[in-house]
């Protein structure tokens, strides 16, 4: 689904240059749930921005769903983002003066879908996150957990191949964080690939695979998939 090879990214100012990613290589398979951890400034967000086509990189290659995105134009990257990628942010990033319905509608408008198709997708997505009855509410009328569910619905409505989540539970209390995580697991179980950046080791352990980033490089892999399978077998 996602194959990064020897990616490097340097941020330059007049005085300094910062190597955000160095020789960064990572492959994420279709249907995987991968957690990316690492200290602040390690390059997690730069990785997520490059993976989500929000940022370009200096060297290396990147295949997204089998397509080489290294030299795509900005417009082509926008279209690809719209069609294949969903984002969930720590701060929810809802547009405050739009209703829940209209917030979920945003990416669908840019895809050029007609009104009927958009309505069906929005209603299905809101149904899936349990907020169908709140479609007309403004974000400010919802709790933090509900707002994050709206953000998830917005990502789901576009039926993305991969979901990038940046600290999706960072602004939530533990109960709501658990609900959101369960929702992500449910989405992943239906086949959507998820790449989640987090500081929380507990959260990271729920993923199939944990990738630790340090100084712009992948420093460690932990594969939980076997352990998770064993846990699930025991639970059964």
């Amino acid at each position: 689904m996602l194959q990064m090879t020897h990616i490097s990214k340097v941020f330059r100012t007049d005085l300094v240059q910062t190597h955000a990613l160095r020789d960064f290589s990572l492959t994420v398979k279709e249907g995987e749930f991968v957690a990316v951890t690492g200290p602040s400034g390690s390059g997690k967000t730069t990785f997520l921005n490059i993976a989500g086509l929000l940022e370009t990189f200096d060297t290396g290659s990147y295949l997204l769903d089998g397509k080489d995105v290294s030299h795509l134009s900005d417009d082509a990257r926008s279209r690809l983002r719209n069609e294949k990628i969903g984002f969930i942010f720590q701060g929810f990033n809802l547009i405050p003066d739009l209703s829940v319905f209209d917030n979920v509608d945003v990416p669908l408008r840019y895809r050029g879908l007609d009104g009927k198709a958009r309505r069906q997708r929005i209603e299905a997505a809101l149904e899936q996150v349990g907020l169908a009855s709140r479609a007309k509410h403004l974000p400010s009328q919802l709790s933090g957990g509900q707002q994050q569910r709206v953000a998830i619905a917005r990502a789901l409505a576009g039926t993305p191949r991969v979901l990038f989540a940046d600290e999706p539970t960072g602004n939530l209390d533990s109960l709501m964080a658990r609900q959101v995580l369960e929702m992500l697991e449910e989405i992943n179980a239906k086949g959507t690939t998820i790449v989640m950046v987090t500081h929380d080791p507990e959260l990271a352990r729920r993923a199939h695979r944990n990738i630790h980033v340090m100084d712009g490089q992948v420093s460690d892999f932990t594969d939980f998939s076997q352990a998770l399978s064993a846990r699930d077998a025991l639970a059964a």
Binding site: R81, F87, N93, I95, P107, R109, R111
Partner: protein, 436 residues
Amino acid sequence: MFAHNLFLAWKSLRQNPVLSLLMIGAIGLGIGVCMTTLTVYTLMSNNPIPQKSSVLYAVQLDSWDPNEAWGEPNQPPSQLNWRDTQALLKSEIPQRQVAMFRSGFAVQEPGNKLPAFLAEARVTTADFFEMFQVPFIYGGGWDASADHDQQQLVVLSKKTNDTVFGGTNSVGKTLKLDDREFRVVGVTEDWNPTPKFYDLNNGSFAKPEELYVPFGLVEPLELKSFGNTNGWKPEQINSYQDFLNAEEVWIQYWAELPDAKSREAYQAFIDHYVGEQKKLGRYPRPLNNQLTNVVDWMRINEVVTEDSKVLLGLSFLFLAVCLLNIVGLLLSKFLGKSGETALRRALGATHWQILQKNLVEVGLIGLLGGVLGLLLAFAGLQGVKLLYRGYERLVQLNGELLLVALGIALASSLIAGLYPAWRAARLAPAGLLKTQ
């Protein structure tokens, strides 16, 4: 998508009403000032008779002072004297020709129920009505025989007919002008050529006359000019006949010359006439007779003053200053919403889609500013009306000017908004999402 962008623009304006009102107010003020001056300027420079302006010629004969031209640069007088007028009227070259001047009469309605009132009049030859395409409600003008036979006929304006005859068809009825009976032959519609090109001597924007009588009555009734009379040499004038024989100029003269051939022939005719007069000791200046069409006539007579042009330029400069302020306000607005823009980009919007969204918002601000500007322009024109006498007829906004105002508002706001909208659309989304 346009309708959706319009919806988003409206929401965005309501989100920050103070900033929105500032921008709308700035555009409105600029447009209001511009439209006030542009309205006056447009009406001043309007071609009052576009369908015929190229075939109607003001006739000028240079009978003036040998030592000093009548006007700069070397302009002959804009009016003729009685003797030359009589000679020119004999020519059959023009398709139509008019000799006329401004006068006035005490008008008394036939039943003597209303007090007499003074009405401005135009004393003119018969061709006036057809030549200047005067529209009639009732009847029409008189024919050349009325001038020749010195018939006491009158054409009334609609206003005069309303006053004297209550708006009814008064053709055939009589009324008294200076205690003499005149028979009504026609009633004009509200005819209002602006500028009043056919007589720029007596106010370019003066109202049309309230009644018209035949030029043939000048001599028998000793009709006097209420307009400008100019002379260049001392003359002994002891009687009306002395006045008619003097070199004083007071009659406006127009000829309708439909093609180049008739124009050349008429030019030759007046040059020949003046040549003959020179032999009699008149016309001491070098030959300088001119035929000038309507548009050039208004230019020569400076219907549009230099002040008006300067004022128009200044008002557009003021609009430019308003727009510069708006550039700053729009930059602040769009950059203030950079988080939302970054989010939209992350969700798949292209640069162009963001630019479109921003430009629709700018356009909406422009249109609202345009509407405010029209209200201010209306108020400004009322101010002009109060401050400047003689400009009353200029200060009205018509449909065309309304569209021009909205067009200028839209275009200028889009020009002002292009850079802020483009700049906001080019922001890199990655760094802005965390702060949204």
